[in-house]
C-alpha cells in the first residue's frame, strides 16, 4: 500500500517538475543568451492559462484552445521583445528588473479587465477525464499522466533542437559569446526575438496545459515565476540541463515536502535552493 502512495507522490512530483521545466527553460534561455532578467515570464504562463480557459469556453474544445494559445503567446512575446526588451540589452540588470516588473503589473491588470477576479476551472476533455485504478482505494488521474507525457516529449524535443539542430547550436553559441555569433554572419537580433517568443510560447503552453489541474486565477503567474527562478538558479543560469534537473528536484521536493512536512512544504523548496547555492554558489551546471 505505502508503495502505491509513494509512486503517486513520485508521479506528482515528476509531473510538477516537468511543468516547471517548460516555464523555467524559457526563463533560463532568455537570461543565458540575451542577458535579460525577465520578471514578466510568469505572465506568459498566466496568459496561456487564461487563453485556454477563455478559448475553451468559446470553442468548446480544450485541445483547440491549447493549440491556439501557443501562437498567441509567441506573438505577444515577440512584440514585447521588439518594442521594449530590445532597448534593455546594454542596460543594467536593475533596469530590466524594473521594466519587467512594470510589465507584470500591466499583465495582471489586463487579466483583471478582460477576465475578472474570479477563479475559473477548466474541464478536462472527456477522453482524458478518467482515472487509472491502482488498488482498491487508490487511483491516478490519466490527465496528469498525459500532462507528464506531453511535457516529457516537449523536453525531449527541446533537447533535440538544442543539441542537434543548427538553431540549437546558434542558441548555445549565443549564450557563450553573442558578439562572435554576429561576427559569423548570424542575425542575432532575430535569433533573440525568436528565443524570446519561443520562451513565451512554452510558458503559455505550460499554463494552458496545467489549467485543468491547477485552475485559473489572478496572480497565478507570480508564484510560478518565483519558483521558476528558484529552478533556474539551482540549475545554473543559462543551463537547460540544469533547468531540467532543478525542475525535477524542486517538483519532488515540493511534493514530498507536502507529504512529510505539511507545515513547511514551501520552506523546504527554498531550503533546498539555499543549500544548493551554499554548496555551489553558481548553481549545479553553471
Amino acid at each position: 500500500m505505502d508503495l502505491w502512495i509513494l509512486l503517486i507522490q513520485v508521479l506528482n512530483g515528476v509531473q510538477y517538475g516537468l511543468l516547471l521545466f517548460l516555464v523555467a527553460s524559457g526563463l533560463t534561455l532568455i537570461f543565458g543568451i540575451m542577458g535579460i532578467i525577465n520578471l514578466a515570464h510568469g505572465s506568459f504562463y498566466m496568459l496561456g492559462a487564461y487563453l485556454a480557459y477563455w478559448l475553451a469556453a468559446s470553442t468548446g474544445s480544450l485541445t483547440l484552445s491549447v493549440l491556439l494559445s501557443l501562437p498567441i503567446a509567441a506573438a505577444v512575446g515577440y512584440v514585447i521583445e521588439a518594442l521594449l526588451v530590445r532597448t534593455l540589452y546594454r542596460r543594467d540588470h536593475l533596469d530590466q528588473v524594473l521594466l519587467t516588473y512594470g510589465l507584470i503589473l500591466i499583465f495582471n491588470e489586463a487579466q483583471r479587465m478582460l477576465w475578472g477576479n474570479d477563479v475559473h476551472s477548466v474541464t478536462i476533455p472527456p477522453v482524458l477525464a478518467w482515472s487509472l485504478k491502482l488498488s482498491d482505494t487508490l487511483s491516478y488521474p490519466v490527465y496528469r499522466l498525459f500532462l507528464s507525457a506531453v511535457c516529457g516529449l516537449l523536453a525531449i524535443a527541446m533537447y533535440f533542437v538544442i543539441t542537434r539542430t543548427r538553431f540549437g547550436m546558434w542558441v548555445r553559441a549565443g549564450a557563450a559569446n553573442r558578439d562572435m555569433v554576429a561576427a559569423l554572419g548570424i542575425n542575432v537580433k532575430l535569433l533573440f526575438g525568436v528565443v524570446f517568443a519561443v520562451g513565451a510560447a512554452l510558458a503559455g503552453l505550460a499554463g494552458a496545459l496545467s489549467s485543468p489541474v491547477s485552475s485559473v486565477y489572478p496572480g497565478m503567474g507570480d508564484s510560478v515565476l518565483i519558483i521558476c527562478f528558484v529552478v533556474v538558479v539551482i540549475g545554473g543560469v543559462g543551463s537547460i540541463k540544469g533547468a531540467f534537473l532543478g525542475a525535477l528536484l524542486i517538483g519532488l521536493a515540493d511534493t514530498f515536502g507536502k507529504v512529510f512536512m505539511p507545515n513547511f512544504a514551501s520552506f523546504v523548496v527554498y531550503g533546498v535552493m539555499a543549500a544548493v547555492l551554499l554548496w555551489k554558489p553558481r548553481g549545479l551546471f553553471a
Binding site: M169, A173, A176, D179, A182, A183, L184, G185
Partner: protein, 239 residues
C-alpha cells in the same frame, strides 16, 4: 603591380572608445584576392580597425563598402554575409560547442553559390580537428582552437578572410602549420587581411602592407620598400 579591383574599401574611419579617439581617419582597401598585412605595435588600432570595418564597433565617421555596396551602419551579420569571414584575436571559440558543431553551425555557400570549402575539405586541411570532432571548445589546446577558428571561417566560403593574430601564443610547430594553411588559402584566391607579429613571414606572404601608428596609416605599399629599408619597420614595429 596593377591595382586589383576593390573588394573592401573604407574611407576616413574615425573610431572612439568613450572619449578616447582611437582611429584618426583611416583609409583602407583590400583588392579581390589580395593579401594585405596589417601591421603595427600593440594598441595602435589594428583590431579596432577590423572591428570598425565589420560594424562590431561603430565608427563615428567614415564609409565602408564591401563588393561595391555601402555597408556603413549595417549590422555585423549583414556585413559578414557579403562574403567576409573573421578569425578574431582570442579565436572566439564557444566553450560549449563541439568541434563538429562549430563547423556545421556556419556551413553555407558563399557569394555566387561557391561551395569550394565544405566539412570534408576543412577536416582534410586540419587533420587534427578530424581527430577531435566531439571535443568541446574549452578542451581544445590553443593551436586546435586556432585551427578550428580558421576552419569555421572557411565553412562560410568567404571572399575575404580576416585573421587577427592567428599565430599568437602558439608553439613554433603549430605556428608553422597555421602559416602553411594560410598560404594554401591565399593560393585559392581568397583575399586575406592578416594581423601578425611575425614580420618576416608577412614580408614574404603579403601583397601589400599597411602600418598603423597611433590610429593613423603611416605606410601603405608593397613589401619591397620595407625589405630595402629595414629602418621603416624598426621605427614603427620592431625592437
Amino acid at each position: 603591380m596593377g591595382e586589383l579591383p576593390p573588394f573592401l574599401e573604407a574611407h576616413g574611419i574615425h573610431t572612439y572608445y568613450g572619449s578616447s579617439h582611437v582611429l584618426h581617419g583611416i583609409d583602407f582597401r583590400v583588392g579581390q584576392g589580395e593579401t594585405v598585412a596589417l601591421m603595427g605595435r600593440n594598441g595602435m588600432g589594428k583590431s579596432t580597425l577590423i572591428k570598425s570595418l565589420l560594424g562590431i564597433v561603430a565608427p563615428r565617421q567614415g564609409q565602408v563598402s564591401v563588393d561595391g555596396q555601402a555597408v556603413s551602419g549595417a549590422d555585423t551579420h549583414a556585413i559578414i554575409r557579403r562574403g567576409i569571414a573573421y578569425v578574431p584575436e582570442g579565436r572566439g571559440i564557444f566553450h560549449n560547442l563541439s568541434v563538429r558543431e562549430h563547423l556545421l553551425m556556419v556551413r553555407r555557400s558563399g557569394a555566387g553559390k561557391r561551395r569550394e570549402w565544405n566539412y570534408e575539405r576543412v577536416l582534410d586541411t586540419f587533420p587534427r580537428l578530424a581527430e577531435r570532432l566531439e571535443t568541446m571548445g574549452n578542451h581544445l589546446s590553443g593551436g586546435e582552437q586556432q585551427m578550428l577558428s580558421i576552419g569555421r571561417a572557411l565553412m562560410t566560403n568567404p571572399l575575404l578572410l580576416i585573421l587577427d593574430e592567428a599565430t599568437e601564443g602558439l608553439a613554433p610547430l603549430i605556428r608553422r602549420e597555421i602559416w602553411r594553411v594560410i598560404r594554401a588559402i591565399k593560393d585559392t584566391g581568397i583575399a586575406t587581411v592578416i594581423v601578425d607579429k611575425n614580420v618576416r613571414v608577412l614580408l614574404d606572404l603579403a601583397d601589400r602592407h599597411v602600418i598603423l601608428v597611433k590610429g593613423e596609416v603611416v605606410y601603405d605599399g608593397g613589401p619591397g620598400p620595407l625589405r630595402d629599408d629595414p629602418d621603416i619597420l624598426k621605427r614603427h614595429i620592431g625592437l
